[in-house]
Symmetry: C2
Subunit: 426 residues, 2 copies
């Protein structure tokens, strides 16, 4: 039989959880401080602020442990970065697999500071396994049914679309979302990449959609605007959307993946760039972040293939949503960034099997892309909601007759805006 | 006194120079073969084809030397790359300094296979020092005077503009041009970068200006089009212009360089991308290549600051020319790529001193950029020459009144097209 925990041990656990309220550790005896430090580390809670608290104690043993582990202060670059608080961020995870243990443990060092929203795919029958030690809300089908009347609504949250329920329920300014088959990647020096921190940097530094900077993101450390870049455009605009990338399994469509089954992405490109205004891109929903206040309603579950599956290459919902978001960002003079951070995508599925389903998505893109390239919004559209309503009307008018799937997408977009406003009015 | 060279030695020298005519080495005695191999290496002439000749001899000593030096075959990727011949390329160097020895020696391994055009800045008084062993044409002020009547022409080839005389005289399909203060850079693995080979790859693989690929150039080794990229756009278009980048001294303007005197670019971004259609960029003339048949006449010496100097940050001629080329490429449905290859820029000049001159360029960009962003060409413009004539007319009409410099630029553009046609009609 295990001994019950000591009072000291419980007190330390409680301190680790409530670190945000602690502003001084100098009164804590050294041996307790050491134990607290070790447990903080294990819990993945050591951040810049907490490290400073430990260093401020001046206790020799603590300082030598910090030194021996080679824990270093992160140099904060002098850039026009907004400082954001941890509680301004929601990390939204769509659970398409029932056991999230290895996924969550891999991300613990990056996720544990933030609030998480986990949304279980309503098609998933097994009970969800989520490890402890996270601050999270879990949403399942019953929560969806309370918000959306499935008898009258056309909106579906099944498969990858489950994450949109998390977007709907979040009240935070920034949302970060990563597929549950991805773990942290390593950079070219072999160091683990903090995808959350990089997304926050992307969202909180300006974007430059109106002129291309050949040295990529001028707000990255060690770079700047190249000679010839107009000064009047250097302050940039707010960033609405940050699209991260993937190492290992790249996000190819089923035909490409079937044709090149051994193709893996190993090229680490150390850059972020603003996708220029009026340029469309294939947004991949695998690893994204957005400013929920600015563009929240544009990330929506509107476009569902008849044979949509549970692998990314069997879906195009994120591609559609990405082009909606890009058109809205262009119209509202906001930026969309692409590049860092990378995540590591693990192997899943059989591309040849998926070919049956995915051809439909491939064919539809031939109509979808020219539509989004040419759609223009009126000056009356001043919010993301207005913009989506106008895009929905154009989809219905210009694409609706060619394929009933487009008409349904237009309906879903209108429905989504209603739902979005309704949830926010509660 | 040195001994005169032996007949054998002279024969080997001659063989090195005339390797293109040799198709078999198997009859050469082994000790001569070894000497030939060493001299070929020293002359920087060992290429894939010559290496194969040596290997085909099957001589053990040769094979072991090749092995001991770890000389390896370059794997040619299976990509839609046009195979081009060495004699389709001109490397054009504008000489702004009189001693090109260290510049040329640094580039010998990359340059020696190709024909070079060296153009001496007409303002440079000292005699030009160029090392031997290159196949080159050297142009000086007297050559310019033969082609351009300086009493009637407004075109000036002084300073960085001297290279345009080389573009004018070249009859090759591809032109590569690198500033004489740059040497080969190293990639992130510490290997020397062959900027010439990378530029040729950029120019001979398709460009994709009509939709953004989040994994950068889909024709690079190990990458492809991302899910959602329309298949109808995947064949791409021809590439007109390849803009390389710079490590160490970045191409900032004088104010930025003066503000951050110690700023150096150390970020090696392993990517090439097509700059999207209708997106303007600040072309830097430091390290470029272009398809002379497609866009040759668009690289032109039109825009000269009143106080233009001999440092890059004192000029904007290349920025102007780059926007002309981009507008023409967009109109003719050609691509402009930016990214790899990097060159290493060495230190020169004093940015604070240059501030007096460069403010003018900085101010003018505020008018230049919106002009090029909005200029549209007629369907009647089907060649680069037509396009430049239309742009010149718009410059005169829309910008000409605000500053005499713009009116002069328009005149220079018209003049350049005349000159271009005249030289080609000889």
């Amino acid at each position: 039989m295990r001994n019950p925990p000591t009072l000291l041990s419980l007190a330390i656990d409680s301190a680790v959880i409530n670190f945000c309220r602690i502003s001084d550790l100098s009164f804590v005896p050294e041996h307790i401080l050491l134990e607290l430090f070790v447990r903080t580390l294990k819990a993945g809670k050591l951040n810049e602020k907490i490290l400073k608290l430990f260093i401020a104690t001046g206790k020799e043993e603590i300082l030598s442990v910090i030194e021996s582990l080679n824990i270093q202060h992160i140099l904060v670059p002098v850039l026009p970065t907004l400082i954001i608080k941890d509680d301004e961020v929601d990390i939204v995870i769509g659970a398409l697999q029932s056991d999230l243990t290895s996924f969550m443990e891999a991300w613990r060092p990056m996720f544990s500071r933030f609030h998480l929203i986990i949304v279980k795919d309503p098609d998933l029958k097994e009970e969800l396994k989520v490890p402890g030690g996270f601050n999270l809300n879990l949403y399942t089908k019953s929560d969806m049914d309370k918000v959306v009347d499935s008898s009258s609504s056309t909106i579906s949250f099944s498969g990858y679309s489950c994450r949109y329920f998390g977007y709907l329920m979040s009240r935070k300014k920034y949302i970060i979302s990563i597929d549950d088959d991805c773990i942290p990647a390593k950079d070219s020096k072999g160091e683990l990449i903090d995808a959350v921190a990089q997304h926050i940097t992307n969202l909180t530094t300006p974007a430059t959609p109106f002129f291309f900077n050949t040295l990529y993101d001028p707000f990255s450390e060690g770079t700047d605007f190249v000679r010839g870049y107009p000064f009047s455009l250097r302050s940039g605009v707010e960033c609405g959307l940050s699209c991260g990338l993937w190492l290992n399994l790249a996000d190819y469509d089923a035909p490409t993946q079937a044709l090149k089954p051994s193709a893996r992405n190993s090229r680490y490109v150390d850059a972020v760039l603003t996708v220029p205004a009026r340029t469309m891109l294939p947004l991949s929903g695998i690893n994204i972040a957005f400013n929920n206040e600015l563009v929240g309603p544009t990330l929506l579950p509107a476009f569902r293939l008849a044979k949509e599956g549970k692998f990314r290459w069997e879906t195009v919902e994120d591609i559609w949503t990405g082009m909606c978001a890009k058109v809205v960002c262009d119209h509202l003079r906001l930026g969309v960034k692409s590049g860092l951070p990378y995540v590591w995508r693990q192997e899943r599925g059989n591309a040849v099997e998926s070919l049956k389903k995915e051809w439909e998505g491939v064919q539809l893109m031939e109509e979808v892309v020219p539509f989004f390239q040419s759609v223009r919004l009126s000056e009356a559209a001043v919010t993301a909601e207005d913009c989506i309503a106008e895009i929905a009307a154009s989809v219905k008018e210009q694409l609706g007759r060619s394929n009933p799937m487009f008409a349904r997408a237009a309906e879903n977009m209108v429905e989504w805006i209603k739902l979005w406003k309704q949830v926010r009015s509660l």
